[in-house]
Amino acid sequence: MRKIYLDHASSMPVDPRILDFAGPFLKSGFGNSSSLHSMGLEAKRVIEDAREKVARLINAENEDCIIFTGGATESNNLAIKGTALRNIGKGKKVAASAIEHISVLNSMKELLKSGFELGIIPVDSTGIVDIERINAILTKDTTLTSIMYANNEIGTIEPIREISEAVHEKSLYLHVDATAAAGRIPIDVQKDAIDLLTLSSNDMYGPQGAGALYIKPGVKLQPILLGGGQERGLRSGTENIFAILGMGEAAKIMKNEMKQENERVKEIRDKLVEEILKIEEAYLTGHPSQRLPNHASFRFSRIEGESILLNMDMKYNMQVSTGSACSSKTLEPSHVLLAIGLKHEEAHGSMVLTLGRSNNIGEIPLISKAAKETVERLRELSPL
């Protein structure tokens, strides 16, 4: 049975063009960008080239606004802890939406130990941040607010420009986690007045092990990794050149092909949603229209998500994701599904499909048939 991969939000295959581009460097060997000999200078040159490509994807003021990190988790840690601690004299409050990635929420919780206060901004049943509540929760002591561009579990795209205006009325800096959004919707950090923005290589078909943090000129933060002072002193450690080159090329390809590819996957996604919602007691989670073009997320009554995942994998060779407790490390259902108001027993029955380049329109009947049969089979087993 041919594999149908539907979990691009978790991991993406590396674009073969990126391997062609960065592979030769890996084979011939890199210099260390801190070395002054010719190999070192060449390493520095290719990193700067990658930095420029990433800057262009989000319309950053210039390439120096981009810091390469080890991934989105590290970028989120640096953005949050780095700015909160550096600006501690201006206040000891931070805030985040209730549906942020766990690396954002846990970085903020870590700050509680240093005497910070944390404000959690609720979302509505479609996952949109409550702008009224931003005004109520933020104070002049709030130095950093973190709101994601789009959510990886329910696909909802936040109204970042409005949020940015509301945040900047009260708070010093806005950090935006654009891991799920980058390359799927156009991002302009200048127009949206974003102070810090997180990007991930692998979420753009780049190699794992690289991420980036955009830092607006003038924004003050301190490093969390100390050492040789690479990346303007904000991220010490010898650069992961292969992954960085790959990320740069990934950003370039995403920028060039975004519009066309998104129209293609959106057509597949829309038909898929239409078909899957024909299943009895199937519901879309997240926003019906303000959502990532490759993202479809559902919940089904009376069945459990890990069973859905296993059944889709074992019986149909289709890889999907779930926010069920049983597939998490904490044994709690997804905080995102709880934040949009689902009850525990509802949140257990979720299935997330994230499409990518490998998917095609011919797969729609196969996927919807597999989903229907999976739900029916598990309901036959269920006493509910």
Binding site: E304, S307, N311, H348, E380, L381
Partner: protein, 129 residues
Amino acid sequence: MAQIGYSKKVLDHFTNPRNVGVIDAPDGHGKVGNPVCGDLMEIFIKVKDDIITDIKFRTFGCGSAIATSSMVTEMAKGMHVDEALKITRNDVADELEGLPPKKMHCSNLASDALHEAVKDYKGKMGNKL
């Protein structure tokens, strides 16, 4: 190496569960778990001369919840009710060639459901005497 994912036997019982269904007018019925926690299972037994002659289950839950339910019905079929009461969660996990550590408690309620069914049967017998 630590166990990663489910054993072949768990996946077999998940994919092809044995003894699924309901027994009308069962001699014993046990139900444990809670949909809020993500697992709910029920077991029905038919008993003749204290021997479990038929057994069925229905389960809402994850892969290991379904596999342990299926496994425990296979283990208990043909067994004396007193022996069935001695089947532990670990026995079920062992028969399945192990469960991932975090699944040992939350999704391994099948033996509890069996015990409840046997106790229900014994209660009914007691009432008859």
